[in-house]
Protein backbone atom coordinates (compact mmCIF):
# COMPACT_ATOMS: atom_id res chain seq x y z
CA UNK A 1 0.00 0.00 0.00
CA UNK A 2 1.52 3.32 -1.03
CA UNK A 3 0.68 6.92 -0.32
CA UNK A 4 -1.94 7.14 -3.08
CA UNK A 5 -3.71 4.04 -1.68
CA UNK A 6 -3.83 5.67 1.74
CA UNK A 7 -5.22 8.89 0.27
CA UNK A 8 -7.84 6.87 -1.60
CA UNK A 9 -8.93 5.05 1.57
CA UNK A 10 -9.21 8.32 3.46
CA UNK A 11 -11.02 10.10 0.63
CA UNK A 12 -13.51 7.27 0.05
CA UNK A 13 -14.60 7.40 3.68
CA UNK A 14 -16.09 10.79 2.87
CA UNK A 15 -19.11 11.19 0.64
CA UNK A 16 -18.64 9.87 -2.88
CA UNK A 17 -20.20 12.19 -5.49
CA UNK A 18 -23.46 11.46 -7.30
CA UNK A 19 -22.80 12.74 -10.81
CA UNK A 20 -22.10 11.38 -14.30
CA UNK A 21 -18.37 10.72 -13.79
CA UNK A 22 -17.85 10.47 -10.03
CA UNK A 23 -14.53 8.62 -10.21
CA UNK A 24 -13.14 11.38 -12.43
CA UNK A 25 -14.15 13.98 -9.83
CA UNK A 26 -12.44 12.08 -7.00
CA UNK A 27 -9.40 11.31 -9.17
CA UNK A 28 -9.05 15.03 -9.82
CA UNK A 29 -8.94 15.74 -6.05
CA UNK A 30 -6.25 13.12 -5.63
CA UNK A 31 -4.25 14.29 -8.60
CA UNK A 32 -4.52 10.97 -10.40
CA UNK A 33 -6.46 9.60 -13.37
CA UNK A 34 -9.94 8.11 -13.35
CA UNK A 35 -8.55 4.83 -14.72
CA UNK A 36 -5.87 4.60 -12.06
CA UNK A 37 -8.38 5.33 -9.29
CA UNK A 38 -10.82 2.65 -10.47
CA UNK A 39 -8.12 0.00 -10.76
CA UNK A 40 -6.71 0.91 -7.33
CA UNK A 41 -10.16 0.62 -5.70
CA UNK A 42 -10.58 -2.80 -7.33
CA UNK A 43 -7.20 -3.87 -5.92
CA UNK A 44 -7.98 -2.54 -2.44
CA UNK A 45 -11.22 -4.55 -2.51
CA UNK A 46 -9.47 -7.68 -3.86
CA UNK A 47 -6.80 -7.44 -1.19
CA UNK A 48 -9.48 -6.82 1.45
CA UNK A 49 -8.21 -3.42 2.59
CA UNK A 50 -11.78 -2.34 1.85
CA UNK A 51 -14.70 -4.58 2.75
CA UNK A 52 -17.09 -2.83 0.39
CA UNK A 53 -17.59 0.23 -1.75
CA UNK A 54 -21.01 1.71 -2.46
CA UNK A 55 -24.04 3.16 -0.69
CA UNK A 56 -24.19 2.33 3.02
CA UNK A 57 -27.81 1.78 3.82
CA UNK A 58 -29.40 2.51 7.16
CA UNK A 59 -31.57 -0.57 7.54
CA UNK A 60 -33.96 0.80 10.11
CA UNK A 61 -34.68 3.91 8.04
CA UNK A 62 -35.90 1.57 5.32
CA UNK A 63 -38.70 0.10 7.37
CA UNK A 64 -36.73 -2.97 8.33
CA UNK A 65 -35.83 -4.13 11.80
CA UNK A 66 -32.34 -4.58 13.15
CA UNK A 67 -31.42 -5.84 16.57
CA UNK A 68 -28.44 -6.97 18.58
CA UNK A 69 -29.04 -10.31 20.29
CA UNK A 70 -27.03 -12.16 22.90
CA UNK A 71 -26.99 -15.74 24.13
CA UNK A 72 -25.17 -17.59 26.89
CA UNK A 73 -23.97 -20.71 25.10
CA UNK A 74 -22.38 -23.62 27.00
CA UNK A 75 -18.79 -24.08 25.83
CA UNK A 76 -19.23 -27.76 24.85
CA UNK A 77 -21.91 -26.99 22.27
CA UNK A 78 -20.66 -23.58 21.17
CA UNK A 79 -19.70 -24.56 17.61
CA UNK A 80 -22.91 -26.47 16.96
CA UNK A 81 -25.01 -23.56 18.18
CA UNK A 82 -22.94 -21.11 16.11
CA UNK A 83 -23.64 -23.21 13.04
CA UNK A 84 -27.38 -23.22 13.73
CA UNK A 85 -27.49 -19.47 14.34
CA UNK A 86 -25.33 -18.64 11.31
CA UNK A 87 -27.59 -20.75 9.09
CA UNK A 88 -30.30 -18.08 9.46
CA UNK A 89 -30.00 -15.65 6.55
CA UNK A 90 -31.30 -12.91 8.86
CA UNK A 91 -28.08 -13.10 10.90
CA UNK A 92 -25.83 -10.36 9.49
CA UNK A 93 -22.88 -10.69 11.87
CA UNK A 94 -22.06 -12.99 14.72
CA UNK A 95 -19.21 -12.61 17.21
CA UNK A 96 -17.92 -14.73 20.05
CA UNK A 97 -17.14 -12.51 23.06
CA UNK A 98 -15.44 -13.11 26.38
CA UNK A 99 -18.40 -12.94 28.73
CA UNK A 100 -21.05 -15.24 30.14
CA UNK A 101 -23.21 -13.91 27.30
CA UNK A 102 -20.70 -15.24 24.79
CA UNK A 103 -22.52 -15.13 21.47
CA UNK A 104 -23.55 -11.75 20.04
CA UNK A 105 -25.28 -11.48 16.69
CA UNK A 106 -27.09 -8.84 14.66
CA UNK A 107 -30.43 -9.76 13.14
CA UNK A 108 -31.72 -7.77 10.19
CA UNK A 109 -35.19 -8.39 8.84
CA UNK A 110 -37.67 -6.59 6.64
CA UNK A 111 -40.36 -6.41 9.35
CA UNK A 112 -40.65 -6.45 13.14
CA UNK A 113 -42.78 -9.62 12.92
CA UNK A 114 -40.05 -11.41 10.99
CA UNK A 115 -37.53 -10.34 13.65
CA UNK A 116 -39.61 -11.77 16.46
CA UNK A 117 -40.28 -14.95 14.50
CA UNK A 118 -36.55 -15.39 13.80
CA UNK A 119 -35.76 -15.05 17.51
CA UNK A 120 -38.42 -17.64 18.37
CA UNK A 121 -37.00 -20.01 15.74
CA UNK A 122 -33.46 -19.62 17.08
CA UNK A 123 -34.69 -20.28 20.63
CA UNK A 124 -36.51 -23.42 19.47
CA UNK A 125 -33.60 -24.65 17.37
CA UNK A 126 -31.01 -24.12 20.09
CA UNK A 127 -33.02 -24.59 23.28
CA UNK A 128 -31.38 -21.41 24.63
CA UNK A 129 -32.93 -18.07 25.39
CA UNK A 130 -32.07 -15.05 23.28
CA UNK A 131 -31.63 -11.62 24.86
CA UNK A 132 -33.04 -9.16 22.36
CA UNK A 133 -31.32 -5.78 22.70
CA UNK A 134 -32.68 -3.48 20.00
CA UNK A 135 -31.28 0.03 20.04
CA UNK A 136 -33.49 2.46 21.92
CA UNK A 137 -31.49 5.52 20.87
CA UNK A 138 -28.65 5.94 18.41
CA UNK A 139 -26.03 8.49 19.44
CA UNK A 140 -23.38 7.86 16.83
CA UNK A 141 -22.56 5.51 13.97
CA UNK A 142 -19.53 5.73 11.76
CA UNK A 143 -15.84 5.90 12.30
CA UNK A 144 -13.17 7.45 10.20
CA UNK A 145 -10.05 5.33 10.11
CA UNK A 146 -7.19 7.61 9.15
CA UNK A 147 -4.47 5.67 7.35
Amino acid sequence: MDNLDRQIINELQRNFPICDHPFAVVADHLDTSEEELISRIQLLLDEKYLTRFGPLFNADQMGGSVSLCAMAVPEYEFNDIAEKVNACPQVAHNYQRDHQLNMWFVLATETQDELEETIRNIEEETGLSVRNMPKLQEFFVGLYFEV
Binding site: L12, Q13, R14, N15, F16, I18, C19, D20, H21, P22, F23, A24, E34, I38, I41, K48, Y49, L50, T51, R52, F53, G54, P55, L56, F57, N58, A59, M62, V66, L68, A70, V85, N86, Q90, V91, A92, H93, N94, Y95, Q96, R97, D98, H99, Q100, L101, A108, E110, M133, P134, K135, L136, Q137, E138, F139, F140, V141, G142, L143, F145, V147
Partner: protein, 170 residues
Protein backbone atom coordinates in the same frame (compact mmCIF):
# COMPACT_ATOMS: atom_id res chain seq x y z
CA UNK B 1 -42.62 -5.94 -12.70
CA UNK B 2 -43.10 -3.80 -15.79
CA UNK B 3 -41.25 -0.49 -16.01
CA UNK B 4 -44.40 1.56 -16.31
CA UNK B 5 -45.71 0.27 -12.97
CA UNK B 6 -42.39 0.94 -11.27
CA UNK B 7 -42.26 4.52 -12.51
CA UNK B 8 -45.96 5.19 -11.87
CA UNK B 9 -45.47 4.13 -8.25
CA UNK B 10 -45.98 7.54 -6.65
CA UNK B 11 -43.36 7.63 -3.95
CA UNK B 12 -40.86 5.45 -5.84
CA UNK B 13 -40.86 2.77 -3.12
CA UNK B 14 -40.56 0.04 -5.77
CA UNK B 15 -37.75 1.74 -7.69
CA UNK B 16 -35.89 2.61 -4.47
CA UNK B 17 -36.03 -1.03 -3.43
CA UNK B 18 -34.68 -2.07 -6.83
CA UNK B 19 -31.84 0.46 -6.48
CA UNK B 20 -31.01 -0.89 -3.02
CA UNK B 21 -30.99 -4.47 -4.30
CA UNK B 22 -28.82 -3.48 -7.26
CA UNK B 23 -26.23 -1.61 -5.16
CA UNK B 24 -26.13 -3.29 -1.74
CA UNK B 25 -23.25 -5.50 -2.82
CA UNK B 26 -21.40 -2.44 -4.15
CA UNK B 27 -21.29 0.28 -6.77
CA UNK B 28 -20.02 -0.78 -10.22
CA UNK B 29 -16.37 0.17 -10.70
CA UNK B 30 -16.81 1.82 -14.08
CA UNK B 31 -16.51 5.37 -15.33
CA UNK B 32 -20.28 5.93 -15.22
CA UNK B 33 -21.57 3.75 -12.37
CA UNK B 34 -25.00 5.40 -12.14
CA UNK B 35 -25.51 4.98 -15.88
CA UNK B 36 -24.74 1.28 -15.51
CA UNK B 37 -27.32 0.88 -12.73
CA UNK B 38 -29.83 2.78 -14.88
CA UNK B 39 -29.19 0.44 -17.81
CA UNK B 40 -29.58 -2.56 -15.56
CA UNK B 41 -32.89 -1.32 -14.16
CA UNK B 42 -34.00 0.11 -17.48
CA UNK B 43 -34.64 3.64 -16.23
CA UNK B 44 -33.26 7.13 -16.92
CA UNK B 45 -29.89 7.71 -15.17
CA UNK B 46 -31.11 11.13 -14.00
CA UNK B 47 -33.77 9.33 -11.98
CA UNK B 48 -31.20 6.99 -10.42
CA UNK B 49 -29.07 9.94 -9.32
CA UNK B 50 -32.15 11.78 -8.04
CA UNK B 51 -33.35 8.81 -5.97
CA UNK B 52 -29.87 8.16 -4.52
CA UNK B 53 -29.62 11.83 -3.50
CA UNK B 54 -33.08 11.62 -1.96
CA UNK B 55 -32.18 8.50 0.03
CA UNK B 56 -28.98 10.17 1.21
CA UNK B 57 -30.96 13.22 2.31
CA UNK B 58 -33.61 11.32 4.24
CA UNK B 59 -31.08 9.05 5.96
CA UNK B 60 -31.82 5.76 4.21
CA UNK B 61 -28.28 6.03 2.85
CA UNK B 62 -25.78 7.04 5.53
CA UNK B 63 -23.17 7.82 2.91
CA UNK B 64 -21.79 6.50 -0.36
CA UNK B 65 -18.22 5.36 -0.05
CA UNK B 66 -15.86 2.72 1.18
CA UNK B 67 -15.83 0.64 4.33
CA UNK B 68 -12.23 -0.03 5.32
CA UNK B 69 -11.36 -3.38 6.81
CA UNK B 70 -10.18 -2.13 10.17
CA UNK B 71 -8.33 -5.38 10.95
CA UNK B 72 -6.25 -5.05 7.81
CA UNK B 73 -5.49 -1.39 8.64
CA UNK B 74 -4.03 -2.38 11.99
CA UNK B 75 -7.07 -1.74 14.20
CA UNK B 76 -7.07 -5.34 15.36
CA UNK B 77 -8.62 -4.91 18.79
CA UNK B 78 -12.27 -4.11 19.24
CA UNK B 79 -14.06 -3.98 22.53
CA UNK B 80 -17.77 -3.55 23.14
CA UNK B 81 -17.76 -1.33 26.20
CA UNK B 82 -20.99 -1.33 28.19
CA UNK B 83 -22.05 1.04 30.94
CA UNK B 84 -24.85 1.49 33.41
CA UNK B 85 -25.77 5.15 33.60
CA UNK B 86 -28.93 6.73 35.05
CA UNK B 87 -31.78 6.79 32.52
CA UNK B 88 -32.30 10.53 32.87
CA UNK B 89 -28.68 11.17 31.84
CA UNK B 90 -28.41 8.63 29.02
CA UNK B 91 -28.95 11.17 26.26
CA UNK B 92 -26.35 13.63 27.53
CA UNK B 93 -23.76 10.92 28.10
CA UNK B 94 -24.63 8.98 24.95
CA UNK B 95 -24.02 12.07 22.84
CA UNK B 96 -20.79 12.90 24.65
CA UNK B 97 -19.41 9.37 24.35
CA UNK B 98 -20.51 9.16 20.69
CA UNK B 99 -18.36 12.24 19.99
CA UNK B 100 -15.18 10.55 21.19
CA UNK B 101 -12.95 9.90 18.20
CA UNK B 102 -12.32 6.21 18.90
CA UNK B 103 -16.01 5.23 19.28
CA UNK B 104 -17.57 3.76 16.12
CA UNK B 105 -21.06 2.98 17.38
CA UNK B 106 -22.88 4.32 20.41
CA UNK B 107 -26.37 3.25 21.43
CA UNK B 108 -28.82 3.00 24.26
CA UNK B 109 -30.09 -0.58 24.63
CA UNK B 110 -32.40 -2.27 27.15
CA UNK B 111 -31.06 -3.79 30.39
CA UNK B 112 -31.73 -7.39 31.44
CA UNK B 113 -31.66 -7.31 35.21
CA UNK B 114 -30.02 -8.68 37.19
CA UNK B 115 -27.54 -10.31 34.81
CA UNK B 116 -27.15 -7.36 32.45
CA UNK B 117 -27.40 -3.90 34.08
CA UNK B 118 -25.88 -1.96 31.15
CA UNK B 119 -27.85 0.53 29.06
CA UNK B 120 -25.09 2.38 27.17
CA UNK B 121 -23.04 0.59 24.49
CA UNK B 122 -19.92 2.09 22.88
CA UNK B 123 -17.79 0.13 20.43
CA UNK B 124 -14.10 1.01 20.75
CA UNK B 125 -11.43 0.30 18.15
CA UNK B 126 -7.70 0.28 18.70
CA UNK B 127 -4.41 -1.21 17.64
CA UNK B 128 -4.14 -3.37 20.78
CA UNK B 129 -6.07 -4.69 23.74
CA UNK B 130 -4.25 -2.22 25.99
CA UNK B 131 -5.11 0.73 23.77
CA UNK B 132 -8.80 -0.23 23.87
CA UNK B 133 -8.69 -0.49 27.67
CA UNK B 134 -7.04 2.93 27.92
CA UNK B 135 -9.75 4.39 25.73
CA UNK B 136 -12.45 2.76 27.86
CA UNK B 137 -10.89 4.50 30.86
CA UNK B 138 -11.38 7.81 29.07
CA UNK B 139 -15.09 7.03 28.81
CA UNK B 140 -15.12 6.08 32.51
CA UNK B 141 -13.49 9.42 33.34
CA UNK B 142 -16.13 11.26 31.35
CA UNK B 143 -19.00 9.42 33.07
CA UNK B 144 -17.47 9.91 36.52
CA UNK B 145 -19.62 8.78 39.41
CA UNK B 146 -22.64 8.47 37.12
CA UNK B 147 -21.16 5.19 35.92
CA UNK B 148 -22.72 2.61 38.25
CA UNK B 149 -21.29 -0.48 36.53
CA UNK B 150 -19.08 -1.16 33.54
CA UNK B 151 -17.66 -3.99 31.51
CA UNK B 152 -15.88 -4.51 28.22
CA UNK B 153 -16.41 -7.50 25.94
CA UNK B 154 -13.64 -8.27 23.49
CA UNK B 155 -14.45 -10.30 20.43
CA UNK B 156 -12.57 -13.58 20.47
CA UNK B 157 -13.80 -14.88 17.12
CA UNK B 158 -15.80 -13.65 14.15
CA UNK B 159 -18.43 -16.33 13.55
CA UNK B 160 -20.20 -14.62 10.63
CA UNK B 161 -19.85 -11.32 8.81
CA UNK B 162 -22.03 -11.02 5.75
CA UNK B 163 -23.48 -7.61 6.52
CA UNK B 164 -27.07 -6.54 6.30
CA UNK B 165 -28.82 -7.54 3.10
CA UNK B 166 -32.44 -7.16 2.14
CA UNK B 167 -34.31 -9.53 -0.11
CA UNK B 168 -32.47 -12.58 1.20
CA UNK B 169 -33.98 -15.98 0.50
CA UNK B 170 -35.42 -17.54 3.62
Amino acid sequence: MNRQAVLMNEDYTILDREIILATQAGLPLVSEPYQQIADQLNVDPELIKKRLKKMREDGRIRRIGAVPNHYKLGYTANGMSVWDVPDDLIKTFGQAVGKMSFVSHCYERPRFLPEWPYNLFAMIHGHSHEEVLEKADKIAALLGENCRARDILFSTRILKKTGIRIGVQT
